[in-house]
Subunit: 167 residues, 3 copies
């Protein structure tokens, strides 16, 4: 069992000019796991605001995984990866690599997705693209490892993890 | 329609001891797109010189995409990725990942190519390897998305881009 | 012919509570190449200690490639990638990408492996996972290019390398 926070990053969503379909996709897909959504929010595409929200949730202690959607493209307002990198201690490059590789099976534009993943304290932060389709494809690719990742981060598999390092 | 600048990075090319076949390959391949080559230059493998030229072109406002060739290997003079990272605001990891993945289908040495891609202002900068073969393979992999990338960076598809973030 | 140093990073291995099977796997696999293992050590999962050992070996001049095992996961003590990034001048992202991509053919958990590769001076440093299985799979993927990489870094193929940049 682990907890999830969903952060939608979208100027239009924040202004209420658009329904947050992508946040709903995350919520539905996460429900397939032994996971509980404990936070949800929408912020505009502003680096400092995104970083502040990620820090607030990650440092609170009861959020295991933060999943963001939006702001990962090439547009001038797309700064989610930079706002994420600004607050993580350690990056997890493989999660973003896998999401892009899976996305490329659907469309070459997936190579333009700039999402990152990283760890702040004991919290994993993962950037997904903005579109519901991009979210579904990206999350599908990493869903199989999220529970294990949360367990390691919370120290619930410390012994096994330490052992497996050398054995 | 977008504009391209080609920067060949090579000590021997700069000294006129070698024909710049790779620059020609870029020129030919780019001509398949609705693109116009507006600048071309050769610089030696010197970080500050490479960075200065990238800044000059990116900040001028009329260059949408800069494609470099050379300086991405393990040799002591190969510093193109570092010179590029020094001037970009945001990285686009997927472009480099795709070029290496495609290159690996031809040769395992592709995993040693250290090229990066990133954005400075509204200009996309992409590092290609130095050999004509490496350039052809790498550019082939990203050619399908260059026009779209330039459109987003210039704000020509801003509305669609913003919309697709949440929808 | 090139030289290799093996660094096992493991709290339990350092305390003598576990046999270093992964170090042995590296030793056996490297023996397939024209390579000589000139150093071997075990350090705990402490960033500054890892960085200091990497610097010591890389700066000595007689170590061409350092292969580390351990400390690349999500656990709170897993800091090998950060300790490596702290001492390299230039990163070689393709080596880590390839190892993860190969690992994914065996298990989705490979996407959580955070290993990096980079160059300090003329020495290549590569992080492998901690488990013998992870080490074997990762090393298998990059073994075909290690000799060439060492040759370029030591300047033994300088002429060819410079030539291939433009030609």
């Amino acid at each position: 069992m682990f907890t999830v926070a969903i952060l939608t990053i979208s100027d239009m969503g924040f202004r209420g000019e658009r329904i947050d379909a992508s946040g709903d996709v995350i919520r539905q897909m996460v429900s397939r796991l032994e996971a509980q959504v404990v936070e949800y929010g929408i912020v505009p595409d502003e680096g400092p605001i995104i970083s502040a929200k990620l820090k607030e949730w990650a440092d609170r202690g009861d959020v295991d995984v933060i999943i963001t959607t939006g702001g990962t493209g090439l547009g001038p307002r797309d700064v989610t990866p930079e706002a994420t990198l600004a607050v993580v201690d350690r990056v997890v490059p493989g999660l973003a690599e896998v999401m892009r590789a899976e996305g490329l099976k659907q469309t070459p534009y997936a190579m333009l997705s700039r999402g990152v993943a990283g760890i702040r304290g004991q919290c994993l932060i993962v950037n997904l693209p903005g579109s519901p389709k991009g979210v579904a494809e990206g999350l599908e690719a990493i869903l199989p490892v999220l529970t294990h990742a949360a367990d390691i981060l919370k120290g619930r598999t410390t012994d096994h993890s330490s052992a497996s390092k050398v054995e």
